[in-house]
């Protein structure tokens, strides 16, 4: 077997058993790995009515068939489980070296089920797998946990773990790997916490084999060249990181500001990638097999917010920045470090603090609720302090750690939660960029940008140009991106490699690695299959077409200032066409013919 290792590892924490199974190669061919295979495992093995935080839920760590090879920037893995935040199939994607290490240890997927009686961690050294006591490690931050686990296992082991956020079962808790990389969204960290699983350490010395080495090398050299010659993939991301987008989106008039009350932030430049590079960047960093190096190793000298770590990404600079009315990059980076250490999602927490700021300014909550803190927009110290409190689960922080939907709803005002399907939207205002609004509304895991990044065309003009203010053609655009990304995620590739390559290059590399011929059409069909699979799961969770929407603010309240002043999102002009092009009925249910075409039940 090539590309895949052929073995899936299953750990039952209730029984304390470890078993090895042959990877279902038929499913591997049709779902690839990572997000696709993980989702299929959840769909097949977890009953839809399972409580996400109960022992009956399962959590899958799965790399893709390209993971562990030198396909450019294809070293990724996915954490897949029923999501504590919103009951969807959470597929949280992460880079670093953890995914490749799982492959070298010999596994296509790691399935964890049940619940340990007391805190444990998992130690995987090739064929040797142990469930070990984590009593002394529980309670520690993610960097300290990583060091402690390594001291007991191997100094070069790759460690994925939760921090206090996951231990407290926060539905916005992350799984962190190698200290700084996050499987960030939908609360996957809380599932580990609910299973008393503090960490997973992996050390592998095996190989990933390739069906046709010469063909693969040729395909990789071509793909590398295309990425390296691309202005974003080859130059921009390494120089300025993803945070380069701050000024670009602000100039588009689509940088959500003060909890999406506006779409323009006058002092945005102070939190952009150019400022970050000038003030905080120590060096760029790449994940395993990455040729892009968008990661930021950063240092803050300012004594009030001093620290060392990685970040912020664009989304983080926005969530703790413009969305909170804050232009202090040192404070933003500090909040980012805190989130990494406590294991919380920066997008969701930043947006939740912004939501709390709006509730505070509207008088819905007062200093009595916020532990005496004047939680107003632009209050830099309050933002950082609330991030710490959320990490500790202390006072008002415990409410913030529930995410903005639960927070706002508990005060009777869910309309101030800037979420789709209860998950916080990221940093692109759908009033200024129409297509991304359709993507948020139809997103299978709720508010999310990385599963249908229409921004690449609507704003960044990557290979094609479409006016961000129009709705025509956006349904087709969104579907193409959603399908492409589902296949790409499942192959183990990084979304950013699309700044240079596309489905033809990915399908060619995949064919050379696995020995299974994937045409571009088949590759895209795999993505469509995965998207529909996730949709079918959502239907079992009670989601309907009424949930394929945006916060009312984005549909009714125009942007007040900046280049997109006066705009609202015109979702109604796009959604019916989206359903139609998807082969779904007007209730958003996939037709029998479509399911048959995709070999789905």
């Amino acid at each position: 077997m090539f590309g895949w290792t052929g073995t899936t590892l299953r750990v039952d924490l209730t029984k304390g058993t470890v078993t090895r199974e042959a990877t279902d190669i038929g499913l591997a061919h049709t779902y690839l790995g990572a997000r696709g295979m993980g989702g299929k495992i959840i769909l097949d093995e977890v009953a839809p009515d399972t409580d996400a935080l109960s022992p009956a839920n399962k959590i899958v760590f799965s790399p893709g068939p390209l993971t562990g090879t030198f396909a450019p920037s294809a070293g990724r893995f996915e954490v897949v489980t029923k999501a504590p935040l919103n009951n969807v199939i959470a597929g949280s994607n992460s880079g670093g070296a953890f995914g490749p290490e799982l492959k070298y240890a010999g596994y296509d997927a790691l399935i964890i089920e049940g619940k340990a009686a007391k805190p444990v961690y998992l130690w995987i050294k090739n064929d040797e797998v142990e469930i070990r006591d984590a009593g002394a490690i529980w309670g520690h931050t993610t960097p300290d946990t990583t060091d402690l686990v390594r001291a007991e296992t191997d100094e070069d082991a790759k460690v994925a773990c939760i921090g206090p956020g996951g231990e407290h079962l926060s539905p916005i808790a992350t799984v962190m790997n190698e200290m700084h990389r996050a499987a960030g969204r939908s609360g996957v960290g809380a599932v580990m916490g609910s299973k008393n699983l503090k960490a997973i350490a992996v050390f592998g010395t095996g190989a990933v084999t390739v069906a046709d080495p010469e063909r693969f090398k040729t395909a990789v050299m071509k793909a590398r060249k295309m990425i390296q010659e691309h202005p974003v993939g080859g130059t921009g991301l390494k120089a300025y990181g993803t945070d380069v987008l701050v000024n670009i989106l602000n100039q588009t008039g689509a940088l959500p500001t003060r909890n999406y009350q506006d779409g323009y932030f006058p002092t945005a430049d102070k939190i952009g990638g150019e400022s970050l590079a000038a003030k905080q960047l120590v060096r760029p960093k790449g994940c395993f097999s990455c040729i892009i190096s968008c990661g930021r190793v950063t240092k803050v000298d300012n004594p009030a917010y001093a620290g060392f770590g990685e970040g912020p990404e664009y989304e983080t600079a926005w969530s703790f920045g413009a969305d909170c009315g804050i232009d202090d990059l040192d404070a933003i980076t500090k909040a980012n470090f805190l989130c990494n250490e406590y294991g919380l999602d920066t997008i969701s927490l930043g947006s939740t603090i912004a939501c709390a700021m709006e509730l505070f300014e509207r008088g819905i909550i007062t200093a009595k609720d916020t532990d005496g803190v004047q939680l107003t927009f632009g209050n830099v110290a309050a933002m950082v302090e609330m991030t710490r409190k959320a990490g500790e689960g202390e006072g008002f922080g415990a409410k913030l750690a529930q995410g903005s939907y639960r927070l706002a709803e508990s005060y009777g005002h869910p309309e101030y939660s800037m979420t789709c399907k209860k998950q916080e939207m990221p940093a692109y205002d759908p009033r200024g960029v129409q297509g991304i609004g359709l993507n948020y509304a139809t997103g299978n895991r709720g508010g999310c940008h990385v599963r249908g990044y229409t921004i690449a065309i609507e704003v960044l003009q990557n290979g094609a140009v479409m006016d961000p203010r129009i709705t025509e053609g956006k349904a087709g655009l969104d579907i193409t991106f959603q399908n492409l990304t589902a296949a790409l995620d499942s192959a183990g590739a990084c979304l950013f490699s699309t700044f240079g390559i596309g489905a033809p290059e990915l399908a060619e590399m995949l064919s050379a690695v696995t020995g299974v011929e994937y045409s571009v059409d088949e590759f895209m069909k795999i993505g469509e299959r995965i998207w529909n699979q996730e949709r079918l799961w959502n239907l079992t969770q009670g989601y309907t077409t009424a949930d394929d929407t945006l916060p009312e603010r984005l549909l009714k309240d125009p942007i007040k200032t900046g280049p997109a002043k006066g705009e609202v999102n015109r979702l109604g002009e796009m959604l019916p066409e989206y359903y139609q092009l998807r082969g779904w009925d007007d209730k958003g249910v996939p037709s029998k013919a479509k399911l048959k075409e995709l070999s789905l039940n």
């Binding site: 030198f70 084999t209 390739v210």
Partner: protein
């Protein structure tokens, strides 16, 4: 003029493409544990340093080898070569190398050390950051020294 591999840890982003390219070239598969170059990452510091055989002029591995398996190449300058046919796998070279750049792999019963891919090192080809270079030995000394001289130049320009 002989060429040598030059390491620039300051340019390394920790992507490990060097290890992947090396194991693919030598083993036909992706197995970083079998790579002749090893990049070690310190996550707290966000720093990665690649390490490989320096092809020492006065090589401890050659001196200690009892069979002549580890020897200075007669056909290629600046290469310490390993002859697997005469090697008895005593592993003395792995002990003698002060850098740990000769390693024994039990799985393949081989000594892993850099052979510069016979003069066209794949790690250099696949390093996306210029952190590994294959340069003339004379240039190696000059370029690093000149890079630091440039920093002095900048500092003096500012004050003068």
């Amino acid at each position: 003029m002989a060429k040598v591999l030059m390491i620039h840890p300051d340019k390394c982003t920790g992507c490990h493409n060097c290890e992947l390219a090396c194991s693919f070239e030598h083993e036909g598969q992706f197995r970083p544990a079998a790579s002749r170059v090893q990049a070690y990452t310190w996550e707290r510091e966000g720093m990665t340093v690649p390490m490989m055989c320096q092809q020492c002029d006065d090589a401890a591995c050659v001196k200690v080898c009892p069979t002549g398996a580890m020897h200075r190449s007669v056909t290629r300058a600046n290469l310490v070569d390993w002859d697997e046919r005469v090697c008895i796998r005593c592993k003395m070279c792995t002990v003698a190398c002060p850098f740990g750049n000769a390693r024994y792999d039990a799985a393949s019963s081989s000594i892993f050390k850099c052979d510069t891919c016979q003069g066209a090192p794949e790690c250099v080809t696949f390093c996306p950051n210029g952190a590994l270079e294959f340069v003339d030995d004379e240039q190696q000394v000059r370029s690093r020294k000149k890079a630091y001289a440039a920093k002095f130049k900048d500092a003096f320009q500012e004050v003068s």
